[in-house]
Symmetry: C3
Subunit: 156 residues, 3 copies
């Protein structure tokens, strides 16, 4: 049952990772479809290709921060923030396609969520250092506060 | 010896990751070499650069799914699927270089392997949930079936 | 306290990952700023965009190797090599912007550090296999040697 213990601590993160992979495949298929119509509509191909590239550039950063936050502190708020990030990314991708090329959205998106996940990592490490050097463990309080704070990500 | 237990559960995945890194460096050196001859042969540089980019775009997705599958279910079939993916990627890269720019292969490759690894993740999580709520553990059966199913990836 | 044990073995790696995320955001903001001035200065936008792309292409490879090395062998030398890599990457990015487009630095950078981290993974796996089949554990010696060898990365 030892292996089940490992799964217990990460299964929400694995689910979010799977959903993100599904989304990546959806993006890639959009690119592939536009690529075949490239001669007819060059600007549409360029837009979808650029949107996909920007999403893919940010993907390893997102995965790394989400997993670190989930492992260092607690997985439920990290997975929740991950889901919100995927929604933001979907909106960004759709928004990119609809815009004319003059007024594309910026290169960055989801900054607030990446910041939240980074803060979770830092708090998790501080909590570990406190436990190591002073023997105090505030993990339960911190987890409650983090869970509550993650609801703030829902604000538009 | 605690650290050795961790290594025991992932060492095949680490080996596949190392091989994939070696392959990435091989791809990057191809790009670097063509980049120096850029003035002589622009289309060759563009092809190798595009092939490398498509491979790199899919790389984090592949790594994430392979590690999740290996951790959630069992590492041997995940590592085997990873090796097959690397072979498919090598064939894709070489094929891209040989093609004329009119008939390049698509943006996506290795869909079947990504699908197989995703299914492994899902089965692993289901197995964990069954164990948690019903106390039943089908891990051994599932591992045997997965090991047999991974042989199907060898079909062309 | 079980969760704190997990954090104990990876917290240096998490810190390096966070610093690398910070650096990614810094790079992305540079791209975003140049993107707005695109009409005024096209070559500057192309250079910063290309530098960012090359860094992002290599990023998943770096993360994968660093975490494998840290988990398989020991985290301190892996995190140290990671910090050096980030410094090299910063220098590469800045150097890319300053160069005229004729003499850009190559596509690859930080080869020595990737090689060092890969060697750490291989040594960690060999050490595990030795322990498994012969019951010998050279981990302490290996960790000392690796720590000393990591100082060689400081050589220019």
């Amino acid at each position: 049952m030892e292996s089940c213990k490992v799964v217990e601590n990460v299964y929400l993160l694995v689910i979010v990772t799977l959903i993100s992979v599904l989304q990546n495949v959806f993006f890639a298929q959009k690119v592939e479809r536009e690529c075949k119509n490239r001669n007819m509509n060059t600007s549409a191909f360029e837009r979808v290709s650029c949107a996909n590239r920007n999403c893919m550039d940010a993907y390893p950063t997102f995965l790394a921060v989400m997993w670190c936050a989930g492992v260092c502190l607690s997985q439920a708020p990290a997975a929740f923030a991950g889901i919100i990030y995927l929604l933001v990314r979907q909106k960004y991708f759709i928004g990119y396609l609809g815009q004319s090329s003059q007024s594309t959205p910026g290169y960055l998106f989801g900054k607030r969520i990446i910041f939240f996940l980074s803060m979770m990592c830092i708090i998790g490490i501080f909590n570990y250092l406190l436990w190591r050097f002073y023997g105090r463990d505030y993990k339960e309080y911190v987890e409650t506060i983090t869970g509550a704070a993650s609801a703030l990500l829902l604000l538009p």
